[in-house]
């Protein structure tokens, strides 16, 4: 009987009552391990670039301006919020925050920029603790990503200068 099934369907609807949440007046609290906008802590960051090498969306760019200073740029508009950066960071300098209302008129508002003092590091890749060989650094040595155009450059200075060894570390050329 179709009338009966119509009545049953009406009961289902009536039973449900009102389910719409009063958003945005009262946003639903997000769970503890929610992956919102990642926050980079410059005080903890050692500039190992593990996050940049394991970012699936290439949202973290690295540029070495000189021996002592490395710039890390997080391009927020490209981020997919997978949380891999926070997971592989050896210093736990990245936290996945609970921020999800990040709509903005300017994509640049989402970017974060860190300038890290590198002491005498030779960018050997040793300070990045590889969780497994699958998370190895793709590129050791100095890096010169295109921060202006948010582009990864798959070349290190070793490549540009045709030098296969930086300090005692053999560099893989692409």
């Amino acid at each position: 009987m179709s009338v009966r099934s119509k009545l049953e369907e009406a009961v289902i609807c009536l039973k449900a009552g009102r389910v719409t949440l009063p958003y945005p007046a009262q946003p639903r609290p997000v769970p503890e391990n929610f992956r919102g906008r990642p926050i980079f802590d410059a005080a903890k960051c050692i500039g190992c670039a593990g996050c940049a090498n394991n970012c699936t969306a290439r949202a973290v760019l690295v540029s070495d301006v000189c021996q002592e200073i490395r710039i890390l740029k997080y391009v927020g508009s490209r981020c997919t919020y997978c949380g891999r950066c926070a997971e592989v960071c050896p210093e736990k300098a990245i936290t996945m925050s609970h921020e999800f209302e990040i709509a903005t008129g300017s994509a640049l508002d989402l970017d974060q920029r860190l300038e890290i003092f590198m002491s005498t590091c030779q960018r050997c890749g040793r300070c990045f603790v590889e969780p497994s060989p699958l998370e190895q650094l793709k590129m050791k040595g100095y890096r010169f990503d295109d921060l202006q155009n948010d582009r990864w450059i798959f070349r290190s200075r070793a490549f540009l200068e045709n030098d296969t060894v930086v300090d005692d570390i053999a560099i893989e050329l692409d």
């Binding site: 099934s5 119509k6 609807c13 699936t56 891999r84």
Partner: protein, 557 residues
């Protein structure tokens, strides 16, 4: 029959044409054969062994073996065996005998191979461009290793038009898509219509082809790809990341810890739950029954929330890595998940009871979009479409992966072959998924969730994996490679096979039934290349070119 016995049978029949065979386990068989023997062997496997055709893969292997490779994958569902027939082709002008005339299901795969790798299927019954955009230059094959991943062809011809076939005599062409209110993604069907009746159609899709395979093969690394794979589909993303991880794991023979397998199973079943509820809602929406559309989405929402609680995101779980999963399920979350399942079961039961007697829905779906057993076999249809035609296949049981070999569940089949049967199959599978998750929660033991991988993965190994996605079998083929990334990764989503049967499903039925017939396979196409704006006052039409649109979207605010 075991894999070895099947191999012996093949050897008896074809003798020296079989160059070598690899049997890495009881459930995988790789047969390397002479190029000239590919067609008879495939025909023998498909017709005489009655295996199910899965996919064909073209591989540019020139940097490694100096040849092109072609692989045809088959599934022996009753024998729990996945089989791949491989052959090497000359590096200059690679050609292979087309198998599409004996296995119609291979038609798209061979056309794709021709477009993307440039391997010519000789004797293909319909050798038309399939994947590449209209203006893409001939002779440039993007999946070849000498084409860089970010290559933009300079001679891309913006104005080149795709040549559609002429409609049969007496038929009018009704364009359906690229954008249509009932399609969530772009696809273009040219329906040949005689009065109210559809007599045939031509399909032009792949408008959202994003070059994911090329990206993975050239710039990503093993553990990046699960997140990329997850974005193949907005609904069954977890399926693709798990299938990818399993195919790599099977290639290099590593086994994730038991707890990780249970967690993967739970996430896959949660995904099936939300997908089936979404589909039932959308199917009702397509036939104009929005009440139930609203109710299934309401019932579905707690599943999204519990998935968010477990993984950190309501849909893109990003849970899977090679050798395990990223987050564990806490005891209190377990209790919460049980409560969600109980509530879901209590709410879904009356819905199924009401719908299964609803004559209005039945009138719109019975004997509509029929795909019978023969079509299922010829076109290699999978998932609820096959099961609704009485074909008892389900990868969870036939090719067990993750923790499914330790769980009890029924494979739901119906006999009607029509859209109504597909509604019933999906509605009932919801209860099976609930049963599976409950068993997982019961059986999973404490332990690590991620295998410790100490060495780099060896290169040149072949891996296959099939996972039962909500829409059917999702199949991935992987060749491991150097530089911490696969050499070749081929994804076959279930819709790839199911969509090929749509022209047969909609033939000789009313044009009004087109939407639900198409909707019934739960199609998953996935951005656009052109936009037209019309100034209403002057009536002037401005067509935006692809370049202008790209410039517009990339312009920084």
């Amino acid at each position: 029959m075991t894999a070895r016995a099947r191999l012996e049978q093949l050897k008896q029949q074809f003798g020296t044409s079989i160059l070598r065979a690899d049997l890495p386990s009881d459930t995988r068989l790789f047969v390397h054969v002479e190029p000239s023997a590919v067609k008879p062997i495939c025909r023998h496997i498909f017709r005489d062994f009655d295996a199910r055709y899965v996919i064909s893969i073209g591989i540019d292997d020139r940097p490694f073996s100096g040849t092109f490779l072609v692989a045809h994958d088959f599934a022996f569902d009753k024998e729990h065996l996945l089989c791949s027939v491989l052959t090497q082709l000359s590096p200059e002008n690679p050609k292979i005998d087309s198998i599409s005339d004996v296995i119609p299901a291979a038609s798209w795969a061979e056309r794709e191979m021709r477009d993307l790798v440039g391997i010519e299927p000789v004797g293909h019954p319909y050798p038309k461009r399939l994947v590449l955009p209209d203006g893409w230059p001939d002779g440039l094959h993007p999946l070849r290793k000498d084409v860089s991943w970010d290559h933009v062809p300079k001679d891309f011809d913006e104005d080149r038009e795709f040549k559609f076939d002429d409609p049969p005599e007496g038929c009018t062409v009704v364009p359906f898509g690229p954008f249509h209110p009932t399609l969530d993604e772009p696809a273009h069907f040219r329906l040949y219509v005689e009065g109210e009746m559809v007599r045939g159609c031509e399909y032009r899709g792949f408008m959202v082809h994003r070059g994911i395979e090329k990206l993975a093969e050239s710039v990503m690394s093993y553990n990046d790809i699960p997140m990329l794979a997850e974005r193949i589909c907005g609904i069954c993303g977890c399926v693709h990341s798990v299938t990818y991880a399993q195919s790599v794991e099977s290639a290099v023979a590593i086994h994730p810890p038991a707890r990780a397998e249970y967690i993967r199973t739970i996430m896959l079943e949660l995904e099936r739950l939300h997908s089936h509820l979404l589909w039932v809602g959308l199917a009702c929406h397509i036939v104009g029954f929005d009440t139930l559309f609203m109710q299934s989405f309401r019932i579905r929402e707690p599943i999204m929330w519990i998935a968010e609680k477990i993984s950190g995101n309501r849909k893109t779980y990003s849970m899977c890595l090679i050798g395990g999963v990223r987050s564990d399920i806490a005891p209190e979350t377990k209790a919460e998940l049980r409560a969600v399942l109980d509530k879901l079961e209590n709410e879904w039961r009356p819905v199924v009871a009401a719908v299964s007697k609803d004559r209005n829905i039945q009138k719109r779906t019975r004997d509509v979009g029929v795909a019978d057993k023969k079509l299922v076999k010829e076109r290699g249809l999978v998932g609820p479409v096959a099961r609704a035609a009485g074909v008892d296949i389900d990868c969870r049981r036939d090719h067990p992966y993750a923790a499914y070999d330790r769980l009890e569940f029924d494979v739901i089949t119906e006999q009607g072959s029509d859209v109504w049967s597909r509604v019933l199959v999906r509605a009932k599978e919801v209860f099976e998924s609930i049963r599976i998750i409950r068993q997982c929660l019961e059986k999973m033991e404490d332990g690590p969730i991620q295998l410790e991988i100490k060495d780099e993965l060896p290169a040149g190994r072949l891996g296959l994996s099939s996972v039962e996605a909500p829409r059917g079998e999702s199949h991935h083929f992987v060749i491991t490679g150097e530089n911490n990334r696969p050499r070749r990764w081929r994804v076959r989503a279930p819709t790839y096979q199911n969509l090929q049967a749509v022209p047969a499903m909609i033939k000789d039925q009313q044009i009004a039934d087109m939407t639900i017939s198409l909707g019934s396979i739960d199609p998953c196409f996935s951005c656009t290349d052109r936009l037209e704006t019309i100034d209403l006052r002057s009536g002037k039409v401005r067509v935006w070119s692809q370049d202008e649109l790209l410039a517009l979207t990339r312009k920084k605010a």
